[in-house]
């Protein structure tokens, strides 16, 4: 039971979340490769989401099965994206060509 455990340091978690948010906003202005910025941002977002789930939602103190239930949407989201990728890769990069085609008189 979540209420039976010792209460976590909620204010400490708040400061961590605040610090990670400030770092996130700062990261987008870093003069580094876009891919690296993306990796950093996803890592920071997942860290923040984990802090909320583990301490505010008390997942750290719950049965492991609840953690598995909570993880399911994240895994499915990655699966959705990967399932869509082949379709998108199959489309030749169309939008760059289309304005010229439509501008040509027939």
């Amino acid at each position: 039971m979540a209420s039976a455990h010792k209460q976590p340091n909620y204010i400490g978690v708040f400061w961590w979340l605040l610090a990670l948010t400030v770092i996130e906003v700062a990261v987008i202005f870093l003069p580094i490769a876009r891919l690296l910025i993306g990796i950093l941002l996803v890592g920071l977002a997942l860290s923040k989401a984990s802090l909320v789930a583990m301490y505010f939602m008390h997942l750290k103190f719950e049965a492991r099965t609840l953690g598995l239930i909570a993880m399911t949407p994240l895994l499915l989201c990655v699966l959705f994206f990967l399932a869509l990728l082949p379709d998108l890769s199959a489309i030749p990069h169309r939008t760059t060509e289309s304005p010229q085609v439509s501008a040509t008189p027939h």
């Binding site: 993306g38 996803v42 920071l44 909320v52 239930i69």
Partner: protein, 205 residues
């Protein structure tokens, strides 16, 4: 049949290994997992559309990062006041419950007000569900659908918590209702958690 009945009788009284004191909490977790899949589908669709687009604008160049960073801060604060409301009712402090519930609701309302301001500002600049002067048309579509879906969740959360606040003000809440507040808190934290992901994927990336 009698054997089945005997087995059922023998099994039923055993408490769930998941949440012995609260089937409601398990129900909320299952709902949140399903709801998380809705958001997951939207974010995966967003990622796929963006990946497949040649003229997707850089969000930071179109959307107000300062304002939304403050909105993120606001939701994080509301999560803290929510856990403090739960801690208050668990120790029987009804005044603390009322105060922290009110603060959580006010944070939610402020968030919604800021979202309305952001939307009206963007619509004024020409970004709508069907048009985007900054590049790919679907940028506007995905932006309004994802943030709108999240805003609807915040609205639902504000109504949900307001019901408990009214009950608390009428003196109909006690330490015995801590479990109900814990379940409501799970929903509110989920709304915060999803916003953390929306903020990163839709605004910052």
């Amino acid at each position: 049949m009698s054997q089945v009945a005997a087995i059922t009788t023998a099994v039923e009284p055993v408490e769930s290994p998941l949440t012995p004191e609260s089937w409601g909490k398990l129900g909320m977790w299952v709902f949140l997992a399903a709801d998380g899949m809705s958001f997951g589908g939207l974010l995966a669709g967003y990622g796929a559309l963006r990946y497949g687009s040649a003229d997707w604008p850089v969000p930071a160049g179109v959307l107000g990062i300062g304002l939304t960073a403050f909105m993120t801060f606001l939701l994080i604060c509301s999560s803290v006041t929510m856990v403090l409301a739960l801690a208050a009712i668990q120790r029987g402090d009804l005044r603390g419950l009322r105060t922290f519930l009110l603060l959580t609701i006010l944070s939610g309302l402020m968030f919604l007000g800021m979202q309305a301001y952001e939307w009206s500002h963007l619509i004024h600049r020409g970004l709508t569900l069907t048009s985007n002067p900054f590049g790919a048309r679907l940028f506007g579509t995905t932006f309004f659908i994802i943030t709108g879906f999240h805003g609807a969740h915040v609205t639902g959360g504000v109504i949900y918590l307001s019901c408990y606040l009214v009950r608390a003000l009428l003196g109909r809440m006690s330490q015995a209702n801590a479990n109900a507040i814990e379940i409501a808190a799970l929903y509110w934290h989920f709304v915060d958690l999803v916003w953390i992901l929306v903020f990163t994927f839709v605004y910052l990336l």
